[in-house]
């Protein structure tokens, strides 16, 4: 039984990354109607930004948590302004292909310069060590990841669902022309939203840097799973993607305990089941 608690907790930690990433995807899909396949590459860029901030600029992990999402977010906004905005109103497929291409290019460039095994990033001194919970040894850093990403996820949900700014955003997706008539700069808001979604990916990248290697393909390995999470949760549903992210982390964790060989496929089996029963995803509404 003790081992089970430990696996649940470990699942929750991985779920934090799924939640943060799928949240960014959901925000971008919900507001811009773009299936952002570049998300994994942007997550990877977040981790690399943290690495360079530390090793070139001597800037600590804590500042990287703030700066890396801003840097990568700006990169994302440039992408949106120079390329993605021309896809408004077109079929989803175009956005998917474009962002997939961008992801391949970005990953290829990083791989060319940094190889595939990656670079080490140390856990910040304040979060080193761990505590004995009785049923497991919990590294403090992992605990921090769960708490921090929960706060960020709920904060984002609150921003979009409960604030005035969020209301403008949602209105702008429903009827951009009308919202513009009220004097609101819709294109700028869209750009900022894409920046926010990208920033969330970069933030997850910074969080994961001390746990995993900072590798050019770290995002490519994760993005497919995250897309499955989004599909299960319902495309574009903010709360849905947060809850599914955490839940699937836990389910995957349990699989690693009971039948480890299947741990990298269980998410997709679930996706198939959900799509069979409820094609719009668990929390999605029919279009």
């Amino acid at each position: 039984m003790q081992a089970l608690y430990a696996q649940l907790l470990v699942g929750l930690i991985n779920g934090s990354f799924y939640a943060l990433l799928s949240l960014g995807l959901a925000v971008i899909f919900g507001m811009l109607n773009i299936i952002n396949f570049a998300h994994g590459a942007l997550y990877m860029m977040g981790a690399f930004a943290a690495y360079f901030l530390l090793n070139v600029g001597g800037i600590s992990y804590w500042w990287a948590l703030l700066l890396a999402p801003i840097i990568v977010g700006i990169f994302g906004m440039i992408l949106e302004r120079t390329m993605l905005k021309f896809l408004t109103g077109l079929d989803h497929l175009y956005g998917l292909l474009l962002t997939f291409g961008i992801a391949l290019i970005v990953q290829g460039v990083f791989q060319n310069y940094f190889g595939s095994s990656g670079l080490p990033y140390a856990i910040p001194d304040q979060l080193k060590g761990g505590m004995n919970l009785g049923f497991m040894f919990l590294p403090i850093y992992r605990g921090w990841v769960v708490v921090f990403s929960l706060v960020v996820c709920l904060g984002t949900w609150f921003l979009i669902e409960k604030t005035r700014l969020g209301a403008y955003l949602r209105a702008a997706t429903e009827n951009p022309t009308l919202v513009r008539a009220f004097g609101i700069n819709v294109p700028r808001m869209i750009t900022l939203t894409y920046g926010l979604g990208v920033g969330l990916a970069a933030l997850a990248g910074v969080l994961s840097a001390p746990i995993n290697q900072v590798r050019p393909l770290m995002g490519a390995d994760l993005i497919i799973v995250v897309f499955a999470v989004v599909v299960i949760g319902g495309m574009g549903s903010i709360m849905g993607s947060i809850i599914t992210g955490f839940a699937l982390g836990v389910i995957e964790g349990l699989t690693k305990y009971f039948y480890p060989e299947a741990s990298n496929t269980v998410v997709f089996v679930l996706m198939v089941l959900v799509l069979l029963v409820k094609p719009t995803g668990l929390t999605g509404r029919a279009a």
Binding site: S116, S117, I211, Y257
Partner: protein, 406 residues
């Protein structure tokens, strides 16, 4: 299918058109470097292996003697079906004579069959499974550098003898992990130890915490890592995070490469014991080669033992061709010639190729240096011991290779 082609044409060969057409054809060789070019094994083999093959061709000096040697490279993406498809195309369409490198035991065994069927030459450096020179040995195959038997009988044996008598395995769930676990288990039990459990994890797993918790709960003294590349680096990093070393359990990195140590960082990797058959900083000759190699690598990386094995293997292959006086385009014949000549090169020293295709050379036990002991960006290892080749690799009396039963 992605196929990046890096071909090298020896310019000097172009000038030699005076020889008759039939004669010139005899001196044409095509080498295919098949590897994981972008995944978790790309740094330990990949583009570096292609470079090593090119350097071997240049250093052989055969270009000046009228040989025309081309190198092409391919990406098997760690998938046996893609690997065999490329191999078939190379033999059938591109008229490749020899395939080198091929890390990933699953792909390596699949390609082994294709090379045998097409009567090519196969010098495997990147794959670990000892089956290549054992149950699945082939008259067309030479296995250079290392194998799972060697890893088990060096690192594994040393740990059991030092008191690590209970083991828990974290095993990559494919041919390589299975072979390494099998060979190490044999050593552990033969030395009076016991395997108390294990987990098979999918290849290329980003998070090992769940598996590490199971290893921790097993209370085994040694956690044996029967995985490689990115999987090993992630396991070691995360084991440190979960305080596994502090709890009295010891990690056995059965297979660790130079690029893995670079990726983990000395802070976390220090003190790890493992075995390799080549390290760049062994003597003047290895240093000279590695310096040339590193200058040509985009990220300035030093060669791994896999890349060194590709270099040494191609050098020996070309020596055999030269001794034959031309390229007979007959794999079995060339490999027989290779086996009849003792091996000697700057990187592995003197050695031999056994009748089952296994190359025998020294193996070295290393320990990862402390950060304070490291003097440069690639100064990672200190030598702890040397195991002579005949003790490190499968004795012929134990080999199940059918070629030995003649």
């Amino acid at each position: 299918m992605k196929k990046s082609i890096a071909s090298l044409l020896l310019g000097t060969a172009l000038a030699v058109t005076t020889a008759g057409a039939a004669f010139a054809q005899d001196k044409a060789v095509k080498i295919g470097a098949l590897s994981d070019q972008s995944g978790l094994y790309a740094d330990l083999g990949g583009p570096g292996s292609t470079l090593a093959a090119q350097m071997a061709v240049e250093d052989s000096g055969l270009g000046a003697k009228g040989w025309k040697i081309d190198i092409i490279s391919g990406d098997h993406q760690n998938k046996p079906d893609i690997g065999t498809a490329i191999a078939r195309q190379w033999f059938d369409v591109d008229k490749v004579d020899i395939i080198v490198d091929v890390p990933n035991s699953g792909v390596a065994l699949a390609v082994n069959n294709v090379v045998k069927e097409k009567n090519g030459v196969y010098i495997n450096s990147g794959a670990a499974t000892s089956d290549l020179t054992n149950a699945q040995c082939s008259p067309n195959t030479v296995h250079w550098t290392y194998d799972t038997y060697m890893l088990a009988h060096t690192t594994g044996q040393a740990l059991v003898k030092a008191g690590g008598d209970t083991w828990f395995f974290l095993t990559a769930d494919y041919a390589f992990g299975a072979a390494l676990e099998r060979d190490t288990t044999a050593v552990v039990t033969a030395n009076g130890g016991k395997v108390v459990g294990g987990v098979k994890h999918p290849l290329n797993t980003p998070d090992f915490s769940s598996f590490l918790l199971q290893a921790q709960a097993s209370k085994a003294k040694i956690i044996g890592l029967a995985n490689a590349g990115g999987d090993t680096t992630n396991t070691i990093k995360q084991a440190a995070e979960f305080g596994i070393g502090k709890g009295g359990q010891k990690l056995a990195a059965l297979l660790l490469f130079l690029t893995d140590v670079k990726a983990i960082g000395l802070e976390t990797a220090q003190g790890l014991n493992f075995t390799e058959t080549f390290y760049w900083d062994m003597n003047d000759k290895t240093r000279a080669f590695s310096k040339r190699f590193s200058e040509k690598m985009k990220n300035g990386a030093m060669p791994t033992m896999v890349q060194a094995g590709v270099y040494a293997g191609v050098r020996h292959y070309l020596k055999a061709l030269e001794a034959l006086g031309g390229n007979p385009h007959d794999g079995v014949k060339v490999v027989e010639k290779m086996k009849s000549m003792p091996t000697e090169d700057d990187l592995f020293g003197k050695g031999e190729i056994q009748p089952n295709g296994r190359t025998i050379h020294n193996a070295y036990l290393f320990e990862v240096k402390k950060p304070s002991e490291s003097k440069g960006p690639w100064d990672f290892y200190k030598l702890v011991g040397t195991v002579p080749g005949d003790q490190a690799f499968t004795p012929l009396s134990e080999s199940k290779c059918a070629l030995l039963k003649k």
